[in-house]
Each structure stands twice: as C-alpha cells, then as structure tokens.
C-alpha cells in the first residue's frame, strides 16, 4: 500500500506569511515583482488611518497579470516565473497578513480585478481564503495596482518606527532597488521607484524618488586638506570571478565595491551603525542577503568596505533573509574565492595609502588633544606651584631634587621597577636599602603589601592619616603596627618590632 503525504495548506500559508518578520519586506517583494514584470516605474504608498490601520498601495507599469498570473499571485509555491527573483512563489504571501487584498491589473487588453476579503482572519480560523475575479476588455496600458488594507505590520509602520530614511536605506540595502547588476549587464533593466508615506507617518521630507541602481559615492582618491581620510573613497571596478568546483561545475561571482571613510560612506542612505551595514555582502539576484566579513581578514576593519558579491548559485531561505546552502561546497568555493579577491583589494596601493592616511590623521588628532591636555596640565602645575607627585616616577623626581638641594642624607635611586611591590633599591649612607616608593604612604597600605623586605618608605605625602590610624587600631596582616609621625617611623610586629623609617618629601622639597 502506498500513501501520499498530506499538506496542511492553511498552516503552510500562515507559516510562509509569518516567515516575513520585518514589515518592510513588503517593499522588497513589491519591488521584486515589479522588476520581474519589467516595469519602468513603481510607486508605493503607505498610509495609516487614525486607528493605526495601514494601507499599502503598489502601482507599476509592468506587463500586468492575467488570470493564471493571478493564481500564481495568490497560490503558494506556484510561481510561473523562471529565472526571476520571485521564482519560489512565496513573496506575495506576505500580503495575506491583512484585512483585504485588492488587485487590479491590465494585460493583453483585459482588465482584471480581484479581491480577497479578510485573508489573515480566515487563515487563523483554519480556512483557506478565497478571492473574486472580474475580467473585462480595456484599452488601458498594461500595469498592476495592488491595494492591501489593514496590513499587519506590527509596529513596523508606526510613525515612531517608519521614516523615509529608514525606507530609503532598506531599498538600497535589502531590495532590488540596491542592485549592482548595472555594473555587469549592458541591458540592465532600470526602473524608477517612488515611495510616499502619509503625512501622519513622516512629513519631514519629500517622497523617495530613486532608481534600482546602487551607486557609490563619487570617487575621491586624494582630497586636499589636513584631515581628509574620512572623505577618501575609491571604487573597485566590477569583476567576474570564476570558480570551478571539484565536480567540474563553474560558478560566477560578480563583485563590485568601494572603500571609503565615514563621510564618504555617509553619502549613501545609511541608517544606524556603519558596522551593521558595511563590509562584504553576498547577494543573489543582486539583492544583498548576508555579509561575509571574514573575507577581509583580521588585519583590516570591515566597515571601510562596501562590496557586493553576487552569485546565482546561492540558495536562500523562504524569506530571502539567509543563505541556506552554507554547509555545501558551493558556499565554500564562493567564500574562498572572495577571500582571495579581498586580499588583493587589501594589498592595493590606494587602500594602503588610505589606511596610512587615517593612521597619520589619528596621530595628528592625538597631538592636537595632547596640546590641549598639556595646556591644562601647565595651568594646574602653575596653580599648585610646581611639582606635586601623584605617581612613583614623580616621587623619584622629587627625591632627586631633594638630594640635589643639599639633603642631610644620601638617598639615591639605584634601581626602580614600577610593577614590583618593593619597587626601589636606594643607595644610602648605610648602603643599599629596599624601599617602597609611593606618592602617598597610605596607598601602600591599601594594597596590603607585606613589609618583610622593606627597609624604607619614601613618599611625597603621608596621605590619609585617618586610614593609617584605622590600620594601627586594628592590625596589619595579622601583626601590630604603629605609625610614629613625629619621628617619621613605622613600627611593625610583635615583641622585636621592626622599625621602618619614612622619608616624606613634600615638606623638604
């Protein structure tokens, strides 16, 4: 006996429609469909009423839809497109997350109108929604108009979330509107894109009017000026890389890109952090999908780069957000070749000049900030009337000054190691002594350093006397301790106590 596996159609529709998480994906699908329909223009309008319900209107002058195309539009996995972006028949199912889908289209002298009522509610009632079809002859030019009412965009289309800038960025980074195909294809199919938001959503600027070409900022190889690295920009011309797999299959990777400083990159419709937008993008159908920044290698920072590597052999997830065949040899071969290519870019002379220039300018900035810091320090030094040590090195300077100005005893630094607990060996009238040298004596005790090998304390000031008294009243590392400030001594230990002289320099220099 043979049985045929069943598909729960309602659940599949819900699954696929729900796969599209970002409501902006509706724009990507609309642009892809218009591109596939060979439109020369597409207009998208997003409106929101006072109750927060969204309406999407998508119009284009593509070749339109007939009844069979309409079936593909509403059916799941029944695309009649081959060699097109929407070959899977998944994309338009994003519209199902709405209260009504209305499609009007003109093709071959026929005007077709179709309405699907309450698709999302119907699916959630475990039923398949239906759609009406009315056809009449017309002399209108071809094209399609899709109106989606009550589109469930979550908060994605809320005025607080949605802006023209965000959409423009999305178009250039995530849709066919950011295509790099024109670098490779002489017959590139260019079309105009217009996106209008209702004033309730964004009234800060005019509607977006662009094309489906991703154009890099103008090249600016060696700008004049002192701080110019952020404006530097170079285009790396299109290349077709060919890779042969072990089984003889050939892959073609179309790569084009730019390297540039932040100001140059900001000439693109960037949105958010550059680290999330720049790098090496893998693309299919010239729509960017995921980044592969490992291609650049650890020696270089990826955000200087904006490269798009398109390969039609990449396989994508249903919502086109991820590459699916990452574990296969195709992906491996693509990434290997990209790594080689990007290594060459990184060895290119201009790029190395650019990186050197950035470094130089950083140094210059650091010199400028050094100047201002030095001025602050000078003012402070003048205020405090000269040397006021705050670290052991400055204490050494004070000690040298003390010795040079006729000190009653010899105390010369013979050896100094900053990171050692007993950081100095000093040459004195009684020979070499181990010394703890600190800006403040109290700092030494805060660190709970053992006193066993210390013969002398040398400090600028005694520091926090209350803290020292507190230690005296308790104990220090389990032993009694007494600070005799009048005689500048520390007595440490039970019975045969050890006496450690303190040299306080502040009142002597």
């Amino acid at each position: 006996m043979h049985k045929t596996p069943k598909v729960n159609e309602v659940n599949e529709f819900i699954e696929i429609a729900s796969d599209f998480e970002d409501p902006l994906e509706v724009i990507r699908e609309a642009l892809s469909n218009s591109y596939d329909a060979e439109a020369t223009w597409v207009e998208i309008e997003i409106k929101q009423d006072d109750e927060g319900r969204n309406t999407l209107i998508i119009k284009d002058d593509g070749h339109g839809m007939d009844e069979q195309d309409l079936e593909s539009f509403f059916d799941l996995g029944n695309s009649n497109k081959h060699d097109a972006i929407g070959y899977k028949g998944h994309g338009t199912k994003i519209y199902y997350k709405s209260d009504e889908i209305r499609v009007e289209s003109v093709k071959d002298g026929n005007h077709i109108e179709s309405v699907m009522e309450q698709p999302w509610e119907t699916l959630n009632n475990h039923e398949l929604p239906t759609y009406s079809i009315d056809t009449e002859e017309t002399d209108e030019t071809t094209g399609t108009r899709i109106e989606v009412h009550g589109f469930r965009a979550g908060q994605g289309f809320d005025p607080e979330q949605l802006t023209y800038n965000k959409i423009e960025h999305y178009i250039k980074w995530k849709t066919i509107g950011g295509s790099t195909a024109w670098h490779f294809d002489d017959d590139f199919h260019e079309f105009d894109i217009k996106v209008t938001l209702s004033p309730q959503i964004d009234d800060t600027r005019k509607p977006i009017e662009t094309t489906n070409k991703l154009e890099f900022p103008d090249e600016n190889l060696y700008p004049d000026g002192e701080f110019v690295a952020e404006r530097m920009c170079k285009h790396f011309p299109p290349r077709e890389l060919t890779v042969t797999l072990d089984d003889g299959r050939e892959l073609t990777i179309e790569v084009v890109g730019m390297v540039g400083g932040k100001e140059a990159r900001n000439e693109l419709p960037t949105y958010g952090k550059h680290s999330a937008q720049f790098g090496i993008w893998l693309a299919k159908d010239h729509i960017k999908v995921e980044r592969y920044n490992d291609a650049i290698g650890a020696d270089n920072e990826f955000f200087h780069f904006f490269f798009v590597a398109n390969c039609q052999s990449l396989e994508l997830s249903a919502n086109r957000e991820k590459i699916r065949n990452k574990s296969g040899d195709v992906y491996q071969a693509i990434t290997n070749e990209l790594e080689r290519f990007m290594t060459k870019v990184c060895q290119e002379e201009w790029y190395r000049d650019y990186i050197a220039r950035r470094k130089l300018e950083d140094k210059k900035r650091s010199v400028q900030s050094q100047e201002s810091s030095l001025q602050d320090r000078l003012v402070k030094t003048k205020e405090q009337g000269g040397l006021s040590p705050s670290n052991p090195a400055e204490v050494i300077a004070a000690l040298e000054r003390y010795s040079a100005n006729g000190s009653p005893e010899t105390v010369e630094i013979a050896d100094f190691r900053m990171d050692e607990e007993v950081n100095a060996i000093v040459n004195t009238d009684d020979g070499y002594k181990n010394a703890a040298l600190q800006a403040k004596l109290s700092d030494f005790f805060e660190d709970e350093t053992p006193l066993t090998h210390i013969d002398r304390f040398i400090c600028w000031k005694l520091g926090d006397l209350d803290a020292l008294t507190k230690i005296e009243r308790a104990s220090y590392l389990g032993e009694p301790i007494r600070f005799d400030f009048s005689n500048n001594e520390v007595m440490y230990g039970d019975g045969d106590a050890k006496t450690i002289p303190i040299l306080e320099l502040a009142d002597k220099v």
Binding site: L221, H235, P237, D299, K344, Q347, E348, E349
Partner: protein
C-alpha cells in the same frame, strides 16, 4: 674562471648561468645541504642514516636509486665546515677527512656538481668561535675556516661571518658587522688561493641595516667588492624564516643596495631559506638558496605535497605527485614501507629525495617562466601557488600588485583574471 651571466629577466626575477671553471649551474638554484662527512668511513659514504642515503642519491648508487640517476637534484650542494663535527668525531678523524678533497675520495669522484663550502659562522659563533669534536676544540679564525674550506675542494667559498640576530642590541650588531668585514678582508687577501668563486656575506633585514653591512665591508677592503668577490650571500635570515614579509624586504633591499653600489651583476645567494618563500624571493631578485629542510622534513616523517604543505608520509598520495621519485615503484614501495628489511633511512631517504625534487621542480618552472620573460605568467604562477595559503597569500599578492602588475589600475581597467 668565474662568471655569472643573466640570461633572462622578468621584472626583478632573473635567470642566470653561474660558471665556475668547468662547472655550470642554472639559476635560480637551490643548493641542498649535504653532510659529506658524518662520522663514518669511506665505504659507508662517511656516515650512516638518512644522510648516507641522500649521498647515495647524489652519487647515483643503483641499489639505493633503483638505477635511475637522480644526481641532477644535486647539481650544486652546500656543505659547511661546522658540520664536520656534527657527529662528535675525534680530531684524528677530522684530519683524515680533510686530508683529501671531497672529490678525491673514490666514492665521490664521479660527483660533478658544484660544492658550496660554507664557513658555518652561525654554529661557530654559538660555540664561542670554536669547533668542538669529541676530544678537541679548535679556535676558528677566518684563516682557519678558509683552510678547512679549501681542504674540501670547493667550487665556492664564503668568508667566516658573524650572523646578526633580530634581538641584537644596536652596538652588538655593529660589532658583528665589523668582525664580518674584517674576515671579508682576510679572505680577500687570500683570494688567489681559491680556485673557484668567493662569496661575501652581508647581513640585515632592511635597507639601512644592509647599507651599514656593505659600508663596513667596503671600508675594510682596499678594492671594490666585485674585484674580489664573485657573489653576495645574504645571511642571518634563518631566525626570521617564518616571516615572509621580512624575508621579501631583506632580499629586495639587498638587491637594491647591490644595484646602487654597482654590484648588480653578482649573483645573490640567500642563506638557509627554501620552501614556500623561495618563489617570492626569486621574484624580488634572489638567485640561489640553500637549505636542509628537505632532509629535516623527511627525518620528521613529512612528505611535501608542494612548497607549502606537508603530510605524514603514511598519508601521502604518491600517484598525485608527478616527481620521478613518486613515479618509481621502488621508491613508492619504500616510502610505503612495503618491502622487507627496510630501515628508516631507506624509507625516509626516498622521502627526502622526493621533498628535494619538489623544491627543485618549482625552481625549474620558475626558470622557464623567467626565460619566457612573461611577467603575467609569473604573477599567475605565484597566484596559483599561494591561492590556498590564507596567511601567506597577502604577501604574494602585495608583491604581485606592487612589483609585477597592479590588480586595480586607476583607469578602472583590470589586470585581475
């Protein structure tokens, strides 16, 4: 009579012919390091183990080679006076070895390759300027080193040097360079005793350092370098052998320094470096190399797949290799340990010969490419060689981009494949 003729050039790479008396050598060339005297007697080719097997390949000993002549792998070999005591020999033995020149021994009489006799400065310096045997130590001065070199009957000798180290303090480095310069002068004074080529050692990792090394020697000599010396040997690179960027800079700057001083017609030898860096160093002007890596890899059971990769010999796919050793059933059986009564020296001796064949094959290819004077082919060869070497290829790409042809021209035209 010594001459070096550059036959063809491609960029900075050059193909040349080194003629020393009646022996000629095509460059770029790798001098495999051979230990002629390894503690034994003549019937055993003066020492056992893999060193003996290698020498049997060199002198075409049929029971070892299987009848095929592989001596061309040893068209020029490097040996060092410091290696004479590698096996802790007694003084009497040393004297016995040095009593005859290498080719005066019956076993070596048919060997007709060039012998480059190194002074072994690195090892001697490490041993405090002495050569240590089992029952003796000998102070090695420049004169003593030359005496011993000449006792070997060499085609090329080189002055006793004081190699520098990357960690040397500046003063220490200067002192070493000056000592090397004094030795160079002393060798120059005895130039007439050498019936072959005299090479001069220089040391440095970049131009300023090399400039100082050359200056020290020029100051010491009373004649221009090319009037005394027939080649320049760049030393002290072994401690930096894994940093190909440093190697490229050192060789390239040495070549530049030679050009500026008018010594460009002299061959440039690079001490102690072979393997993956070799093609890149040829591309920036190195003419000859020496190395024992083919042997050390074999001793460690490593079989070279190419210049970059080795695999344990048990895992090697001999059929994927086009070298003559791997195409010989006898050697495949040996390397696979499939014959009775095989010693390690038999198994690994064939591996060493294979490893050397791989390195010589690459240089042979390079010689052909240079002869065709086609820089594009050289770039393509280098690219192909490094294409799977992630950490390494950026240096090759940089070299190609800067010295052979830019990957991205300013006019947008591409030279990229």
């Amino acid at each position: 009579m010594v001459s070096f003729d550059v036959i063809a050039e491609a960029g900075e790479a050059r193909r040349g012919q080194l003629q020393i008396n009646d022996r000629a050598l095509e460059t770029p060339h790798l001098f495999p390091v051979v230990n002629f005297y390894g503690g034994g007697n003549e019937p055993a080719l003066f020492g056992g183990g893999i060193h003996r097997t290698v020498k049997e390949f060199m002198v075409n000993h049929p029971p070892t080679t299987g009848g095929t002549d592989y001596s061309d792998l040893f068209g020029g070999v490097m040996t060092s006076i410091s290696s004479l005591t590698d096996y802790g020999i007694r003084e009497k033995k040393l004297e016995e070895y040095l009593d005859n020149e290498i080719r005066e021994w019956g076993k070596f009489s048919d060997y007709d390759g060039m012998i480059f006799a190194d002074s072994g400065g690195y090892k001697i310096l490490k041993q405090g300027g002495e050569l240590e045997g089992e029952d003796f130590t000998k102070d090695i001065s420049q004169d003593k080193a030359l005496d011993m070199q000449l006792d070997l009957g060499p085609d090329i000798v080189v002055n006793l040097d004081h190699p520098i180290h990357p960690d040397d303090e500046f003063e220490e480095r200067i002192e070493k360079m000056e000592k090397t310069a004094v030795n160079a002068r002393q060798l120059a004074e005895r130039r007439d005793e050498v019936d072959g080529a005299c090479y001069l050692t220089v040391h440095g990792y970049y131009e300023a350092m090399l400039e100082r090394s050359f200056d020290a020697i020029e100051d010491e000599l009373d004649r221009p370098i090319p009037e005394v010396f027939d080649g320049i040997a760049l030393g002290s690179l072994v401690p930096r052998k894994d940093n190909v960027e440093v190697l490229i800079e050192a060789v390239s700057d040495c070549r530049l320094e030679m050009q500026q001083r008018g010594y460009n017609d002299l061959p440039l030898h690079v001490f102690g470096i072979s393997g993956n860096a070799m093609p890149l160093l040829v591309a920036v002007g190195a003419d000859t190399f020496d190395s024992a890596s083919y042997l050390h890899q074999a001793i460690n059971g490593k079989y070279c797949v190419n210049l970059f990769e080795t695999v344990p010999v048990e895992e090697a796919d001999f059929h994927a290799c086009d070298c003559r050793i791997c195409n010989d059933g006898l050697h495949r059986d040996r390397m696979r340990n499939r014959l009775d009564d095989l010693y390690q020296k038999d198994i690994l001796g064939s591996v060493a010969a294979h490893n050397l064949a791989i390195q010589q094959r690459e240089l042979r290819r390079f010689r052909q490419l240079i002869a065709e004077a086609d820089e594009d082919q050289i770039a393509a060869y280098l690219e192909e060689a490094v294409k799977d070497q992630k950490g390494f290829r950026k240096f090759a790409y940089k070299l190609i981009n800067e010295r052979i042809k830019p990957y991205f021209d300013d006019d947008g035209e591409t030279s990229y494949a």
